[in-house]
Amino acid sequence: MAAAVSIQGLTKTYLDVWTKTEIRAVDNLSLEVEEGEVFGFLGRNGAGKTTTIKMLLGLIFPTLGSANVLGKPIGDIGVKSQISYLPEEAYFYEGMTGWDTMDFYARLFRISEPKRSERIKQCLNDVFLDEQAWRRPIRGYSKGMRQRIGIAQALINDPKLLFLDEPTSGLDPIAHAELREIIVNVGRQGKTVFLSSHQLPDVELTCSRVAIIHRGKLLTTGKTQDLTSGDMVEITFSGGDGALVEKLKAAGADCEKKNGASRIPSVAPSKVNDIVDLIRGAKGSVTAIVPHRRTLEEVFVDTVMKAGAN
């Protein structure tokens, strides 16, 4: 599969006018996003996510490095008709109605009538925007409606690649869930989605691959599944004679007792058979062997904390 986005050594530095120090917003970032995948781009506030996206869109210019978007160097105007962008906290022309806003953006894509009206209708329906709201000025829209319009305008050109910057921040739970649903749908249509977020549960649910960025540097990247799948298993058992605890300790498995049930929180997969044998040899009965699965949040916190410690 070809790369939808390919970043090589992208660096963006700013000069702090007051302290005369150089701030590296993005530091030697290299990354590949495959076509058709929903890619999660994770990082804390100020990690450099938005800066990276803006560079990819040609809104700001890299200090060093290069990147290709849909096979073309960044800033290529032809590529822009195949991509789209929903900025963080998207703002609109408040006085315009939803429909006029869509019409305006459609014109920027040089989509002419009658195709334009068709596209607008379809996109507004795709994001489940209430038809009565189409002719109302955006001034009166709720936050959820604004984000819907934001996504709709990002879909107007039927893009191959979408950049979504924090699309779900600040939404109430229902709107949040609906928007997540919309993104999943977009992904199902075979479009590439570059999703920047720190809403980790969302990313975990929607993205097939993620990258974690911290202070402008790429910390890790990989399939969501690989990152969250743990190495250790947890074993719980009941019974067992008095010497079992000591034997287990000798085998490297600390065990804790609670309400008559014993638990070994962390066992390396290679040792699972030995431990089970020990328990069974001591008349104990194994009640559960559960592989550890970390949440993306745990992975994220771990990775970032580790990076912070360095």
Partner: protein, 255 residues
């Protein structure tokens, strides 16, 4: 088409601004109340009425132009709407041109409205259509075209507040063309050089002031039409220079 779409959106956006609407209402009210000032001799009263009308149009046009010119691009950046526009297949020059044209359409609508009221008031007061006033109003519009281009140019790198003073300042200096022109014959070489630089480099807003001719009929301008055409050409070409500069700066601008 993209440029026009941006211009149309800008015009609609500006026309929704309350401040411009209030300016327009105040200006129209002042023009309509103009006849009540004329208590002097008929000749003077006519001159006062005409000069006040043209002055109100110029002053309101000036505020509208500067407020529009300094705002159209920075507002886009401040409201982050520029991200959604420039991430689409829109060239940066199309964006700058669209914003400029949108602002210009706004100024045109405002000046035309005031002009119609003004000529209507004169018709009511003097009994005939003072068609020659159209020349004055038209000159004001082209003067504002140039000022708008200047404000757009500054807005590509200066904050609106700085831009406000820059644009106003240059408008004032550019209005003193009579002073700088007379200094071109100064005995002091340094004065001549500085005056020349100011006179030819700074947009010469004073050129467009033909109120004199319109208010005092005894003032004769040789080849009035040629003069007007020269001024329009000056406004358009100088605006083109400013817009090219604006585009060059905006091309490198990070938004």
């Amino acid at each position: 088409m993209v440029t026009l779409a941006i211009a149309k959106q800008t015009l609609e956006d500006m026309l929704r601004r309350k401040i411009l609407l209030i300016l327009l209402i105040v200006a129209v009210a002042m023009i309509a109340l103009g006849p009540s000032v004329g208590f002097l001799s008929p000749r003077e009263s006519s001159a006062v009425l005409r000069s006040l009308g043209l002055a109100v149009i110029l002053l309101a046009g000036l505020l509208i132009t500067v407020l529009t010119g300094i705002q159209v691009i920075p507002t886009e950046i401040e409201r982050r709407t520029v991200y959604t526009v420039l991430s689409k297949p829109v060239q940066r020059y199309e964006f700058v041109l669209g914003k400029f044209l949108g602002g210009l359409f706004t100024v045109f609508v405002m000046i035309a409205s005031m002009g119609i009221v003004f000529i209507g008031v004169l018709r009511y007061q003097e009994g005939h259509f003072a068609t020659e006033m159209i020349q004055g109003i038209m000159m004001t519009f082209f003067q504002m075209t140039l000022l708008g281009a200047l404000a757009i140019f500054f807005s590509t790198f200066a904050t609106p507040v700085v831009n406000f003073f820059l644009s106003f300042g240059l408008f004032i200096v550019g209005n003193m063309s009579a002073v700088t022109e007379s200094l071109l014959n100064n005995k002091n070489v340094a004065t001549r050089v500085i005056a020349g630089a100011v006179h030819y480099a700074i947009p010469n807003f004073g050129n467009f002031n033909i109120q004199n001719k319109l208010i005092h009929p005894q003032v004769v301008i040789k080849d009035m039409n040629v003069f007007i055409m020269q001024n329009i050409a000056y406004a358009l070409i100088y605006s083109a220079v400013l817009l090219l500069l604006a585009i060059i700066v905006f091309d490198r601008r990070e938004v």
